[in-house]
């Protein structure tokens, strides 16, 4: 196989695109609505990680998958709790999130 195949049923492809763009500072940034969306997903994942009993029928799919993969990374969620907007996500935090997602799959 030429390259690692994306997980066929993972819902985190878009999150990975956006986190990568924070690190790489591409020529064209992701749109503002997408930034807002990803920040909301990260917030929802953080809430699930802090209190899994709060999961209900409205909990977004991406947030659940992200929270599951990040279980046990209290340090990262702690850092994230101090961020109040998408633009506040530093490249090193984005890198740690991405690395955690990759290490789960390994």
């Amino acid at each position: 196989m030429l390259a690692a195949a994306p997980e066929p049923n993972s819902g985190l492809g878009l999150i990975q695109v956006v986190l990568t763009s924070i690190i790489g500072k591409p020529e064209v940034e992701v749109s503002e609505p997408l930034k807002t969306h990803v920040f909301e997903v990260l917030q929802a994942a953080s809430a699930v990680a802090a209190n899994p009993t709060a999961i209900n029928s409205r909990t977004p799919s991406e947030a659940l998958e992200l929270a599951l993969r990040m279980r046990g990374r209290h340090d990262l969620w702690q850092q994230f709790s101090e961020i109040h907007s998408f633009n506040g996500i530093r490249a090193d935090v984005a890198e740690q999130l991405l690395t955690s997602l990759r290490s789960y799959a390994a």
Binding site: G11, V28, L64
Partner: protein
């Protein structure tokens, strides 16, 4: 360069597919919408400077490519109409979204399901202003079974994977019932052993537990719709498969389906019932009614299916009938060559479902 070339090639393929007759008008609409996505994306990628984030453009292009795979088997000459109709009925019971069954006919001896990223659909609406009206349920089945509805019962298992991934059933179960708490799964180390494992090893076990739970859940959905046919087909297709990192052993899978169908308590089933409730979904329950096929099929006539539950039950009843006639043919069937018993039973199932499709279509047309 390659991204633009890929988008043009995919557009050419979809243009060509759009000239093919399809099973439903929804498929025509769906292809038209995917073509619009490609045209809009091409225009943004070709702009100077590029008018979309490159990573996002690759993400959208990859998803369209994956979706296109499952359109080649959906043409009128390929699609197993009756099975797709039944799967569509079952899928509709699990969510409010408008669903579309798309199929890939494959040469390998396997059935599988590919999810469609909900984020892809949201992204194209958000970034390109195009709303795709249906979410596809993408299933692949072997070419030689495309007109053998009784051999397509594993598609109900694949439907189970769709219900799981589109509602995060297994993912949610890992919060309420973590792998280091239980319930213990057959063939795997106990939850206590997993809890004691070093971090990296525990992560690997989490993945295995997740995969096994997904298979058990899909088996339960299959048993809920087609009863003993789910177990029966699996028993002949993969009779004694040993446990692997992705799948439980065949024996453990039969046990859970059997417990479910006989109403015997099982902690794995209890876990899923609790999870389904958390996600606001219906409980796992038998969703079929067995039509009496002995009289009709016995006289080589299709049976009348009065409801959706009868349609699902036709698979269970048909499987039982085929097994009985195969082992000890009686009446008219005793004079049939053995190879015709399978062919005629499958034909009778196809015709029974087709008759139901026609009568439903008639009712809808006359009572709009």
């Amino acid at each position: 360069m390659l991204l633009k070339a890929n988008l043009r090639l995919l557009l050419a393929q979809l243009d060509s597919l759009s000239e093919t007759p399809y099973f439903t008008s929804q498929l025509d609409t769906y292809i038209r919408e995917l073509r619009e996505v490609l045209r809009a994306l091409l225009s943004k990628v070709a702009a100077q400077p590029m008018a979309i984030n490159e990573g996002l453009a690759h993400f959208i292009a990859r998803e369209v490519w994956r979706l296109t795979q499952f359109l080649t088997g959906s043409t009128t000459k390929q699609i197993p109409y009756e099975v797709v109709y039944a799967i569509g009925k079952a899928a509709a019971e699990w969510g409010a979204r408008r669903l579309l069954i798309t199929t890939a006919i494959v040469q390998e001896a396997n059935f599988y399901f590919h999810g469609s990223s909900r984020e892809f659909f949201n992204s194209v609406e958000r970034e390109l202003g195009i709303k795709i009206s249906h979410q596809p349920v993408q299933i692949a089945l072997p070419y030689i079974y495309r007109h053998k509805p009784l051999f397509c019962v594993p598609l109900f298992h694949e439907l189970g994977h769709f219900i799981d991934t589109s509602n995060d059933v297994v993912t949610t179960s890992l919060f309420s019932h973590p792998e280091n708490v239980g319930p213990d799964l057959p063939d795997l180390p106990s939850s206590e052993e997993i809890a004691r494992a070093p971090d990296e090893k525990r992560k690997a076990w989490t993945q295995v537990v997740k995969s096994h739970r997904a298979e058990y859940f899909a088996d339960l959905i299959s048993a809920a719709y087609v009863g003993e046919a789910a177990h029966g087909f699996l028993g002949e297709f993969i009779p004694n498969q040993a446990v692997s990192s992705s799948h439980p052993s065949s024996a453990s899978r039969y046990q859970l389906m059997s417990d479910f169908l006989s109403g015997k308590p099982n902690p794995i089933l209890d876990m899923f019932q609790q999870t389904l409730s958390t996600r606001g979904l219906p409980a796992l329950a038998v969703r079929f009614r067995l039509p009496d096929v002995d009289d009709t099929f016995g006289n080589v006539r299709p049976c009348k299916l009065e409801s959706d539950a009868d349609i699902f039950g036709a698979f269970a009843a048909g499987w039982g009938f085929l097994s009985r006639m195969n082992n000890k043919p009686t009446g008219l069937w005793a004079s049939l060559p053995v190879e015709d018993i399978e062919r005629v039973t499958n034909d009778l199932i196809e015709k029974s479902i087709r008759n139901r499709m026609i009568s439903e279509g008639w009712d809808e047309a006359t009572n709009p």
